[in-house]
Symmetry: C2
Subunit: 454 residues, 2 copies
């Protein structure tokens, strides 16, 4: 039996484990799932004979190394900051490792050791990062192999609510870490390339500089820029590209309403409010508005942001019940971002029967034989329920497939890797299609941003 | 002869030295002025027999300690970050010291040593901080001594151009460090107290949440909030105050126009632009606007910020020549803030005959015998020329007066001090009046922010 240790049995472990368990007989696998919460781990494997659940505190060195020693390969589904101790043990004990997280500088530092020992440390093989890398590189490599020269690459991903569960005015619910949604876009100016020039968007303009995207059968979406559009420029071989833009997808109208919170300062996570616990939702809003003994919080907000009486953004605010003077924040010494998250969770938490949706959209512009072309590719994955969510599928399945491929010596390049080579992306994308995770490509007229250049 | 060492002969040393030299015969003073630039130091003392200029690099320990050893008291007019080595030597060598800068944590750490040795380390005795402390505490103490209870304190200072030199649309020129003007308000949300509740203003709203102030004979000003309105709350004895607000004064209309730069991201000092050197002013603006092959930078800017064709802010932009496609930035790898500063210096540098102006405005609200009262006090100081500027007078004179008062044992409380006690502020404010640095007080009906409470 080949032994797989899966550390962490959180939200995205369901599809990962189902895949591995389903293959365990034919592939001769035994899966050990470890978690601080033994019941959570047990629940995911049921009574499967090729699996067991163990209690594991990753900060307990003895039991951690013991568990890793007994495995042939280790999958870490822990939050990103906890991978590094596991990775160091893997190097020491000669085990391959797979994660869905961004490569941290500490992880990157293990590259040489991993290569020396012939170990694969595969990272960024979930959905974003992960499926975006693989699907983008597949098309980019194909265009280049056919003699095309890439001039434009844009890539967008969104974690949203499935159309059948999309029943609020924001067309949004929390399908993943709410905190990341509230603080999205903070920490620096967004920088990207458009028709050969660098463009910059400060945080306070980020949600007003959106663009539209249409997906057949799913309608229109909007995107706002990621901070790091240029992050993979060299890795993807796009050093001479004219347009390079990466962003986050939302349903149309989300960003304009969200910008109200940004503008007022309600997403700030850098300071705490002293008596936040006893504040009402209404007090919280009022802390960002001028003082007045007469005027209502509502009118002060409308006036400050020039919101007309018939503007739909107003209904979005009302839906969140933010003007409620009775509901208390109930969080001690909380930051504005933490308080806003609390308020949003009242409205944006998934109902038991709600399903999520992952959308991804790539645009590839290229030149060949003096002509310009464009390929658009998009992916929509719907969740089945609240266990086998779209997020769990798109994160967990590629992780599981990579794990098996490494065990089967189909992925062999040692070192700290991300899934951008054909040996990795080709079989995994193909297999993902059998799980309904597939891209729809179409040739469209090259648009770019400058019709004069066409 | 009592020996005074003045380290640094920059902009604000002129009035300081003139005061000390004028008193040198009657007070038996000998003044040594040191600078890295010997000529600058020499120029300020002329041929005065009671003074000499020496070359001094404050980072050269040997010559620094030698110079300090020979003095009875040391005045540091260096940039704030350079005071600490001088202060440590003063403690070691048993010398008093005076600076106009904010007390740094390192400076504060010397408090106990200074007390043990009976040394006065007087700081924050320039204009802001300095004259604001003294003039505020004088009125606050008087109100309290008369049985009043302070309920409101607001304090505003501005370094502006004198009315006779006020000839641009912004009613503004750089009279002090331009960099501080460009980055003003960054680094955190402004927090203040208004009628008993905390209010918060994020940077992107700071220049839209202004208030007006009127000064007899000088017309109307506007103020935007300082980040640190609550900084001196306890020091001033205002722990139970309902309204506490500190801000910066500008002429009306400055902030609304300035907010254009803030909103677009042009004041950002946190990243550099690669090819800034060869950018035109127009390219710089365009980097913060959407790409378009057709539309003008002007129209894109008007559209992005919804600026009507007849809005005066537009004329302010035109006056700065920011749409010029020929003028090059000429700064290597500069931040947006550095580039903006360069552009502004073309327009906002003082002409040879221009004069500056310091304005200060305090509001004191108090209760006595069940009634509410308000005292407003303001100060306007005009520069004489570009040597004896309003800034040099208001910074240098109180520093000089404190220095002499320490020598004459009129200020004796040892330790790291700021000028908030009567022994310090009373004689200095009185003497400042003889130099035209005086406050005009008037009783006004209590306004506060809540007419219902009157």
């Amino acid at each position: 039996m080949r032994k797989i240790l899966v550390i962490g049995s959180g939200k995205s472990a369901s599809s990962l484990l189902k895949y591995l368990l389903d293959k365990s007989a034919s592939e001769n696998l035994f899966i050990t799932v470890s978690d601080l919460n033994l019941n959570a781990a047990k629940k995911l494997i049921g009574n499967h004979q090729n699996a067991k659940a163990i209690l594991l505190d990753v900060f307990d060195e003895t039991s951690r190394t013991e568990a890793i020693k007994n495995a042939d390969i280790v999958v870490s589904m822990l939050p990103a900051r906890f991978h590094i101790e596991v990775a160091k043990d893997c190097i020491l004990l000669g085990k391959h490792m797979v994660t869905a997280s961004y490569v941290s500088p500490e992880m990157q530092a293990l590259d040489e050791d991993a290569k020396t020992k012939g170990l694969v440390l595969m990272n960024e093989i979930g959905v974003d990062p992960g499926i975006d890398h693989m699907s983008a590189m597949q098309v980019l490599d194909r265009i280049r192999n056919n003699g095309g020269k890439i001039i434009l690459f844009e890539s967008f991903t969104g974690g949203l609510v499935a159309p059948e569960s999309d029943n609020n005015l924001w067309n949004y619910k929390f399908t993943w870490n709410p905190r990341n949604v509230v603080t999205a876009g903070q920490g620096g100016t967004a920088k990207f390339l458009q028709e050969g020039t660098y463009k910059y968007i400060p945080y306070n303009r980020l949600f007003r500089r959106t663009e539209f995207l249409d997906i057949d059968n799913y309608g229109r979406f909007e995107v706002y820029a990621n901070r790091d559009s240029l992050k993979y420029q060299s890795v993807y071989g796009l050093d001479n590209v004219k347009t390079l833009y990466r962003g986050t997808m939302r349903r149309v109208g989300f960003s304009r309403a969200w910008n109200i919170f940004v503008t007022l300062g309600m997403t700030d996570d850098s300071y705490t409010i002293d008596d936040s616990e006893n504040m009402s939702y209404r007090d919280f809003i009022n802390a960002f508005l001028t003082y007045s003994p007469f005027d209502s919080v509502e009118l002060k907000l409308r006036h400050a942001l020039k919101i007309d009486q018939d503007d739909i953004v107003w209904d979005k605010l009302i839906e969140l019940d933010i003007f409620n003077a009775e509901k208390k924040v109930g969080l001690k010494k909380a930051t504005p971002a933490q308080i806003l998250q609390k308020i949003l969770m009242d409205s944006w938490t998934l109902d038991t029967n709600d399903k999520d949706m992952i959308v991804m959209y790539h645009k590839f512009g290229y030149e060949k034989d003096g002509k310009k072309y464009q390929i658009d590719a998009n992916m929509v994955v719907l969740g089945e329920d609240q266990t086998y969510t779209a997020m769990a599928k798109t994160v967990g399945l590629p992780v599981a497939m990579a794990t098996l491929a490494i065990l089967n010596k189909k992925i062999t390049s040692p070192g700290v890797q991300i899934p951008i080579t054909k040996e990795v992306y080709e079989p995994i994308l193909k297999e993902l299609e059998t799980f309904g995770v597939s891209f729809h490509e179409k040739e469209v007229p090259y648009l770019g941003y400058n019709p004069l250049n066409n």
